[in-house]
């Protein structure tokens, strides 16, 4: 993947660069907010890692001008300000995720992969994660090359979970996306559907986790 890291601290930047390059990504680095903004105007990246406290313009401003240009590149905001409600500020400005320093590098790589997969899943017809592969056009899913027998509703649910990889969905949200206007969405039916799909996905590296009372979250179990 082609990534851009915008971070003014040299030591931190160096470790992040080493980590990501060792995983096979090509990573550019910018120190200054203004320069990052200029670069983003003309080059495209798969993921941008954006520090907030930057010389030149701040990370939020860079992000806002990206989004106002219609640039939908996934952005992970890096910040040291834990007590500010960064989630609201950052995600409102259009960030896809954020991490508070000091962070776990494995967690960072995992989040990058989630974003990349979510993006790839939406833009191409095939989604694959480890031993799991899903073909959107053919509506077919494979685990270790073995095709899964999926009903139409299960395929639909699988698509919804893949589109929201790494994001928690409530039961109501799933029902909303799953059923059309005239169908009566039943939360029990959603529960049963998730249970069925999870049973069929047994052994796959795509995992759908249930948090009772909260909802569902899909993740890929290849991150170690």
């Amino acid at each position: 993947m082609r990534m851009l890291l915008v971070e003014d601290n040299d030591e931190l930047a160096e470790t992040i660069l080493d980590r990501l390059r060792s995983e096979g990504h090509s990573v550019d680095r910018e120190i200054n907010g203004d320069e990052a903004n200029d670069l983003l105007r003309f080059s495209s990246f798969d993921i941008v890692l954006l520090d907030i406290n930057l010389p030149g313009r701040s990370g939020y401003e860079v992000l806002r001008s990206m989004r106002s240009r219609g640039d939908a590149t996934p952005v992970i905001v890096l910040t040291a300000r834990s007590e500010i409600d960064d989630r609201v500020v950052g995600l409102d400005a259009g960030a896809d995720d954020y991490m508070i320093k000091p962070f776990d590098f494995r967690e960072l790589s995992a989040r990058c992969r989630v974003l990349a997969r979510r993006r790839a899943g939406a833009s191409s017809n095939t989604f694959s994660a480890g031993n799991f592969r899903f073909d959107r056009a053919a509506k077919q899913a494979h685990v270790d090359g073995r095709q899964l027998e999926l009903r139409a509703r299960e395929v639909q649910l699988l698509e919804i979970m893949i589109d929201n990889l790494g994001r928690m969905l409530t039961k109501e949200e799933v029902a909303d996306k799953l059923y059309t206007f005239d169908e009566t969405p039943s939360l029990n039916a959603v529960e049963q559907l998730v249970t069925r799909l999870r049973r069929k996905l047994e052994g796959a590296q795509l995992i759908i986790k249930t948090a009772r009372g909260l909802g569902y979250i899909a993740y890929v179990n290849d991150d170690d």
Binding site: S82, A211, L214
Partner: protein, 810 residues
């Protein structure tokens, strides 16, 4: 620096407190004196204004006479004029005789107690719809039956008395206040002197360095030895608190340094390691140590942040349920929680929300720490249960895990800073301390117990916010339906003259619909007076100023708050209840085909001579108001008798010339236009001046006299029974506003009251307003004289005897 200002303020406040005590004593004294002063002011103002009442009563009594049918009275204008010296007061009067009953005025006014017939005035207070002061006085007149008593009662409201009383009282109080201030200044000096020893202590404290927490030494005066001891005990407390802080800092330093030393040690060992195996092992340990250091630092910062935010100012109404759900949704994305079974139990939550007053940032930090603890101590097959529950007073947030839990004996210790119960799973030892600080900052309790899952159950019990439920309930209420509301205007004015004003007002006030009904002046007056049920008006507009004054004098109108800049001149308003908004002179209109401008008379005496001279030519061709039916006609006619001694003669001359009477100006204008009339008197000039230029109107001339021309103002009032008083007030304000006056000038046949706002109307070279011959009729009790029943009957009688009983021309 900051300690300096605190000390300084403390000294000031003491002095002020002493001074306040003295001021309170002075105030009590002032209160006593003010009671005496109040009674004096009341008596003095009563004495002054009783003279007005007495004068008015005397002037009425003087005009009592005896004729064939019994005693009668010709109410003198002077009586009302005397009473109008108290300009804002309503007036009532009554003339009666024990043998003949009521003669005139308001019947059955309250009489004084212990009444004996007397020629001396008796003054007393009585309450009608508001407080009134009355005079009661009698006179004996000689009749065919011998000597008869006739009594006069005159009453007036108390506005002028009250304002005189208040003025007297305030002046007196101002003087006393001044004296008190001087007294207080002396007290101030005395206090300063007395407090000198305190200042000495203050200076001692000032001179200290912040590190010096030893007790103050010295021999304080008897009165402040308590204070002295208190200061010393405070210093001691400060010392203890500082010792605590210092020990915390020492703890923090110790923990951080220890952690960093361990990290450094592992890294050095790794650097010195000979075999790669050993090195990898050391680096692995160093990494885990670094993780612990990061965790420790984060929690130290969180601890500091939570304590810093634990004052009231960060708390605001919020839904704990949403915060918990959002925080959990976010935590769930973390990899370390993938193998933990997490569930949220909130089904018992009433009404689906958990309203509290809270600080979202602190509570999120507390919840994170509880979950961290649950993950850390939960063991391999961990599951975590988060519960949210509430009753009427409390909201509970509980986190349970499946770990080993904490023995009851250790629970109190577990909440302390830097203590971990289980050495194997120990974290920084700050987690529960942070949670406790958050709970304390919210007035909540932290309780540790056993969980159903086998491990620890940590519960925070927040006080539930009741107003929050009310608030959300209010917000769910549907907005009030915005159907149009009606403002009802009853007016004695052509709809054509009012419609442009109504249109503009409706445009300015969307959602309001103005309902307009046209009346004759007398009918309108009767309707308001009798309070016709079912159709209460919001605004009453009439050209009959005297009838409007009578309605206000009877207490039927509401006080309006019109901005000072829009107020009409003094003659065109009364008691803040009645407001004139037009300027309409009485004029003579004539047929240019029959009469020429240069032949027309120039003064009222000339007018009599002119009609007499041209009697043959003008026979049956002079028009005037029917005084029985037209309020404005009666007003102009009666005001003429006050201004000119010729008025009675004019009536006679008109009668002889066969003058005809009409109900309204428009009919007379039509009469001139058609040639039926050659001349009409006391016509509302503005209608004629602003009648559009067409062939018929070209024949109508408008003529003003040089001695005087009466000017009437159309007035508006808001009855007390108005269903929409606020909008009604807005409408009256609009009539007087720059916009309203401009519309009157440009779009109606009326002339605005403020010529500078509406454009000056000129007749030839003669600017109408500002010309001294134009004599505005003043609103006030003076207009009540000719509404007296006997007076009115007599006036109309003489008019009918000139014009004939059938003088009315349909």
């Amino acid at each position: 620096m900051s300690t300096t200002t605190i000390e300084a303020r403390r000294g000031h406040s003491l002095k002020r407190r002493l001074l306040a005590g003295m001021a309170a004593a002075f105030l009590l004294l002032l209160l006593l004196i003010s009671l005496l002063l109040w009674n004096y002011a009341k008596a003095a103002s009563n004495r002054t204004y009783d003279l007005l009442l007495a004068g008015a009563a005397l002037s009425v009594l003087e005009r009592v006479s005896y004729n064939s049918r019994g005693p009668t009275v010709d109410l003198p204008q002077s009586a009302m004029d005397i009473l109008a010296l108290a300009p804002d007061d309503r007036v009532v009067y009554r003339v009666f005789s024990p043998s003949y009953g009521e003669l005139t005025g308001t019947p059955e006014l309250p009489k004084p107690k212990d009444l004996k017939p007397s020629v001396d005035p008796v003054f007393y207070d009585a309450k009608l719809d508001e407080g009134f002061r009355f005079v009661y006085q009698g006179r004996q007149i000689t009749s065919t039956n011998g000597r008869e008593w006739v009594f006069v009662q005159v009453g007036q409201t108390l506005n002028a008395r009250k304002s005189q009383r208040d003025t007297l009282f305030l002046y007196g109080m101002a003087g006393l206040g001044g004296v008190s201030l001087i007294g207080l200044a002396f007290v101030w000096l005395a206090i300063r002197t007395a407090l000198a020893p305190l200042r000495a202590i203050a200076e001692t404290l000032h001179a200290r360095t912040p590190r010096d927490l030893s007790p103050i030494e010295g021999d304080p005066p008897l009165e402040i030895s308590d204070l002295f001891r208190a200061i010393n005990s405070f210093i001691a407390q400060l010392g203890r608190s500082r010792a605590l802080t210092e020990s915390f800092i020492a703890d923090v330093a110790h923990q951080t340094r220890t952690s960093l030393s361990a990290l450094q040690g592992q890294l050095e060992l790794a650097a010195d390691a000979k075999e790669p195996e050993r090195m990898r092992d050391r680096v692995g340990r160093a990494e885990r140590q670094a993780e612990r250091t990061v965790q420790l630092t984060n929690q130290l910062l969180a601890n500091a942040m939570v304590i810093h935010r634990s004052d009231e100012t960060h708390l605001e109404p919020m839904d704990l349920r949403r915060l918990v759900r959002d925080t959990l949704a976010e935590l769930l994305r973390e990899r370390r929680l993938r193998n933990v079974v997490i569930s949220l139990e909130e089904a018992n939550l009433p009404s689906g929300s958990a309203p509290i007053r809270g600080d979202a940032i602190s509570i999120r930090e507390a919840l994170r720490n509880l979950i961290d603890n649950a993950v850390r101590h939960g063991g391999p097959d961990n599951s975590i249960l988060i519960e949210l529950d509430a009753d009427a007073e409390t909201v509970w947030l509980a986190v349970s895990d499946a770990g080993p839990g904490i023995a009851p004996a250790d629970r109190a210790r577990a909440i302390e800073r830097f203590t971990s119960i289980n050495r194997k799973t120990a974290g920084s030892g700050l987690g529960l301390a942070i949670v406790r600080s958050v709970a304390e900052g919210h007035g909540a309790r932290l309780e540790l117990g056993d969980s159903a899952l086998g491990g620890l159950r940590a519960t925070i019990a927040f006080p539930r916010l009741l107003t929050c439920i009310l608030l959300s309930f209010l917000m769910m209420l549907p907005a009030a339906p915005s159907s149009a509301r009606d403002l009802v205007i009853h007016a004695a004015t052509d709809p054509g003259a009012i419609q442009p004003l109504v249109d503009a007002f409706e445009a300015q006030n969307p959602g309001w619909n103005v309902i307009y009904r046209e009346y004759q002046t007398v009918d309108l007056y009767q309707e308001v007076l009798n309070g016709k049920p079912g159709a209460p008006a919001d605004v009453v507009i009439s050209s009959a100023m005297d009838l409007q004054v009578d309605l206000v004098n009877r207490g039927l109108a509401r006080k309006l708050w019109i901005p000072d800049t829009l107020l009409p001149p003094g003659w065109a308003r009364w008691r803040s209840e009645l407001f004139g908004f037009t300027w309409e002179p009485a004029a003579i209109i004539y047929d240019k085909r029959v009469l020429s401008e240069k032949d027309l008379p120039t003064s009222h005496p000339d007018l009599v001579a002119f009609i007499r001279k041209n009697e043959a030519k003008l026979r049956g061709k002079i028009g005037g108001y029917d005084l029985r039916r037209s309020g404005i006609g009666y007003l102009f006619a009666t005001q003429d008798t006050i201004q000119s001694v010729q008025a009675q003669r004019l009536t006679e001359v008109l009668g002889r010339a066969g003058a005809r009477s009409y109900c309204c100006t428009s009919e007379m204008l039509d009469g001139i236009a058609s040639g039926e009339l050659s001349m009409a008197l006391n016509v509302i000039g503005s209608y004629a001046l602003k009648r559009g230029p067409d062939a018929a109107n070209d024949n109508i001339g408008v003529h003003f006299l040089e001695d005087y021309n009466l000017v009437m103002s159309r007035t508006a009032l808001v009855p007390k029974t108005a269903p929409e008083p606020e909008m009604a007030e807005k409408f009256v304000t609009f009539l007087l506003s720059v916009d309203g006056q401009a519309i009157i000038a440009e779009k109606t046949p009326l002339i605005p009251l403020h010529p500078e706002r509406g454009g000056l109307i000129a007749q030839g070279d003669l600017p109408l307003s500002g010309n001294p011959s134009f004599l505005p009729i003043r609103l006030g009790p003076g207009l009540l004289t000719f509404l007296d029943k006997i007076k009115r009957d007599a006036f109309l009688h003489s008019w009918i005897s000139s014009f004939g009983d059938d003088g009315y021309n349909p």
